[in-house]
Amino acid sequence: MQIDPYILTFSAITVFVTIFMGFWSAKKSKTASDFFVAGRSVSVGWNASAISGEYLSAASFMGIAGMVMSSGYDALWYPVCYACGYLFLLLFIAGPLRRFGAYTIPDFAEGRYDSPLFRKIAVCFVLFIGFFYTMPQMKGAGVTLAYIFPGLPYWAGVVLVGAVITLNVALGGMKGITLVQAFQYWAKMFAISVPIFVLMAVYGHYGKQLEANVVSAQPPSLQSQVEVANTVAAASEIQRRELPPKAPSDSVWISPFGPLTTKAAKAANLSPEETKAYSLLYTYSLIIALVCGTAGLPHILVRFYTNPDGVAAKRTTMWVMILIGIFYVFPPVFGVIGRNLMPELYTGLSGIKGTDQVVLKLPTLLNEKYGVLGSILSGVTCAGAFAAFMSTFSGLLVSMTGALAHDVYGRMLRPKSTPEERMRMFKIAAVLIGGVAVVLGSFVEPLEINFMVGQAFAIAAASYFPLLFMSVWWRGMTMLGAAVGMLTGGLCALTAATLTNVSNLALDKGPMGKIFSGFSPLNEFWAQHPLLRILCEQPAIWAVPLSITLMIVISKLTSRRVPDDIRMKMLVLHAPEKLGLKQEYIQEHQPGH
């Protein structure tokens, strides 16, 4: 296989435009506050596009399609809950947090409880969640580069992309990122929608493609599949290619409670009834993780502060919901068409593992009929993929670097540092974090992109979400309650997710399997305890309630330590900004800042 010039050109253009915009805006952002929140002067349209651009990660662009192709119906929960999570954020957290006027979650944690110690704890979680969320982005980068340059090892792609973005962030800062993010939303929208419309026009639309997957009552065997495929081809005019034995059968794939949610129970050889019950549990836990986790993603909340006022922040959120909602209709279509027309991806013989590359590869089908059109469109989706992991990775890098430079260095280590020193620290921290992210990213090739993102959401759901939700709506919270709840919930979810990951990596047949082979006894344990496996793979269903319960119990026990000015704090959180309470509050607290 050779390098396709069209694919290379389009990807290169995206990368260069991104870098150019970073450098161009670097000249414009001079002061330290420019770096952190873009001077709070971003219009609704720009900001909504930028938030959406940041939110649509490699998981949205590549991962959903890949997972729909490999697991079918159950994977649809991901795009839906990614969008719904935003609604939850809007309903309970966005408004109050904005009124409180803290730059970051650690700022909020410190302001709400008057505790610098708590800030340190909260900062740790920015880094934990951030690193978990960068891993799938890095995998997206590795897969895409290995697709563009056949033969390039996976890790080389990770290193290359990591280095480029790190440099960009270190030089541009957030102002640059706002512009770049907004541009990248539209790039992604174009890159996902245009190729899919062309594909649907040529090969049959969404519903027709799905119709080809007939639910048959017979047990799936190779022979019956061929029969079904024949009858379907006659009925719906879609020329399906034969599915390899590795692919799930039609009836399992298209119905709820398919391979994604039943894997653990199947491995334990449970009866179909029990399997279905476990699968329901898995589904609910996944929903909780994704819906609550959005509110806890460190790089999303910061953006609410770049609106000029509360009404603008709300309008922005409405637009974000619309922008991401429209986007999320498209990726599953790639998965559906990929299953019918490119089933060879199931076997992973084409070089890179798995179905995660379906978005990149599917348009090349058109080459059979229309010459280079397929390559051009594949170039477009590659460009979109670049936009996806580059934008999310830079957003995360800015948040994590901000946490290190602004919190750890600026507040804890050297409170008397000058703005210049902090700016220099921002750059050093960016390089440091970029490096760690690259190292982590090169380990995760065998894991599915979407799956890893789900885990990052679960950790956020068990740590930040309870903290924000309870602190905003319950005045009885104390620092101790908040800290213990957040730490316990978050660390439990983190441990559970890590355990699942290392046991999955131990199953890999490549080099990763050898590195992690020490964890393979874990897989035997999972086979005997499918319930535990599900609860570890999707920890949100127990970790979120655990965290909230701990917060309530410990806050009740330490109720004497509720901050004295709690009523004023709650007023600032909830009273309309026009009443000017924030100014009053800041004047009272002048020495603290």
Partner: protein, 106 residues
């Protein structure tokens, strides 16, 4: 520098403020959670109905893959309109009683 309004800083004001906001948020969240959490149950208990075909989609696929997003937009549109109105009412309430001086600072 506005002198604290007894009205604004009273326990009763904060209480009613939070109550009103929370009621709005919870009613919107309830509408959306019923749909979101109800769908797996429908899949579990009514598999035949949910696998009926419309335009080639199974009913449940159609709902989850396409129909869900407009529903979320409706809820968030309603919430945003109501919450902006709610804030305006609250400002009017305070400004009305406090004769409205010095409120628009910042």
């Amino acid at each position: 520098m506005s002198s604290p309004k007894p009205d604004m800083h009273s326990e009763a004001f904060l209480h009613s403020l939070m109550r009103k906001q929370l009621r709005l948020s919870i009613s919107c969240a309830a509408a959306f959670l019923i749909v979101l959490l109800g769908l797996p149950l429908a899949n579990y208990f009514l598999p035949e109905l949910m696998s009926k075909r419309i335009f080639g989609f199974t009913l449940t696929w159609f709902f989850l893959g396409i129909g869900f997003f407009p529903a979320v937009w409706c809820i968030s549109f309603y919430f945003i309109r109501r919450s902006i109105a709610l804030e305006r009412e609250e400002v009017e309430e305070v400004v009305g009683r406090g004769k409205g001086e010095g409120e628009k600072k910042g």
